[in-house]
């Protein structure tokens, strides 16, 4: 084809190039998606996790159509290389996200890999997985001294407000 300057500049192009070519990219993402469906939380490079996210959510959308649907079953059997995960997808993951419309996955970045390549890593998970949360929720302890003092302060203010309302 015509060798233009625009071919070498990639400003504004959003499609990522992964692996050896488009077929290699799909195969890699298929493997990663199978791992995600099997383990529900995986750790890969940031770019691969970001790419798989779109496919993971689309797969759930297809699974929600039900396993009797021909197209859904074809998609599931294409994308999941290990065939024992197909029933897991339709029977476990699809019912889990019945009431969600979007956002079935969560991605969290983690420190770079220790190897020489220092690749940027991320953790990708399906929401509702049985593992401890990625961002642990810190609960305020109600019984510390300062919280007890503030509780007393709040109660006194409430009492004063009630008295003022009665008067």
């Amino acid at each position: 084809m015509r060798l233009t300057l625009q071919m070498l500049i990639s400003h504004g192009r959003v499609a990522r190039r992964i692996g050896l070519g488009p077929e290699s990219r799909i195969n890699m993402l298929r493997n990663i998606l199978t791992g995600l469906v099997r383990h529900e939380r995986i750790e890969t490079t940031r770019v691969r996790a970001d790419e798989v996210r779109f496919y993971a959510e689309k797969l759930i959308d297809y699974a929600k159509k039900g396993d009797t649907d021909e197209k859904a079953m074809k998609m599931a059997s294409f994308w999941l290389t290990e065939k024992d995960l197909v029933p897991k997808l339709f029977k476990v993951l699809a019912p889990r996200f019945e009431n969600h419309s979007t956002g079935y996955t969560r991605m969290a970045r983690i420190p770079n890999r220790e190897n020489l390549d220092r690749a940027q890593m991320a953790v990708l998970e399906y929401k509702g997985n049985p593992f401890p949360p990625l961002y642990p929720v810190k609960k305020e302890n109600e019984l510390t001294l300062i919280n007890q003092l503030l509780k007393g302060y709040r109660e006194e203010r409430a009492r004063a407000r009630v008295l003022a309302a009665e008067a």
Partner: protein
Amino acid sequence: MATRTACQVFRRRFSSASAALRPSTAEIRSRRNAVFSREQQRQRALYPRIEKIEVSLRGPGLDGTLLIMNKGMSTPLSCARHLTEYHMNNSALALVDGELWPLHQPLTDSCTLTLLMFNDSDPTLLNEAYWRSCSALLGQVLETAFKDDYTVELLSTPEVPVTSGAFCCDVVLDPQLDSWTPSPESLRSLTRGAQQLIHQNLAWEPLEVAPSVALEVFSHSRCKQEEVEQKASDSPKGTVMLYRCGDHVLLSGGPLVARTGLCSQYEVTAMHSLGQGPWGHHRRTQGLSLPLQLQAHHTVWRRLRERAEKLVSFPSCSQRIPYGGKADTPPLALQTPPPTP
């Protein structure tokens, strides 16, 4: 009734007569100090040979750790020093076999130890101990604040729940000061005195003594002697707990925290007059304090301080915690005698 007024008259007459001959506050303090040190030496000499005890620790990340410590010499603080600096600086009280144990009191038997900190999941007992220590500190400041001509009598510090907003220290001042009301400047100077003590980071050294020794320590104060007798009758073992901070010896109804440096924000907020009592003109000094690990923003502090200026009154005048027992007795009404544990 006639005899009671006669007794009061005689007591007042005798107290005013002995005021002329009574030794100065510095002398009283040094005498109390000497008796305390003597008793402390005697108790330490009870363990001439070093015997080992096994202390197993409990707590997040520490379960099952076994320490070999010395009997009668190692304190929970020395156990904390075997762990990390964080444990040493942040632990304020210890639980030995479920019983509250001051951090500087020596361990006597193989036991299980839990170090209590302010950011635990359940610091209720520690909060009460902290409130008690703050009142004790306020009492110490009041004793040293006035000139030698004026006498200061500390009454038994009432047990106030933390949610009431301020800790109290009941005090009876010299009859010459009956008409004196403290101005904000004097409260601020009391605060400064307390801040100096906090800055010196003095340890509250505990000592469990027989009532006779305690009566000897407080030989110049009839009010304190009555308190000693009351506490001795309350406690299951019949002993009384004395604490020394710097050179001031005091009596306490329960365990105190390890050292004064644990308090960071400390302010004396108000002094209210409660009217005439059996010892004279009762005054209730109130204050507010927060520990080093739980500092408040200045807006929050201002609101809590405004609340602490109001008079704290509660149904029971002094809730006695029997020493050596668990601190969960219900509040007492004013006239009924304390329940025996």
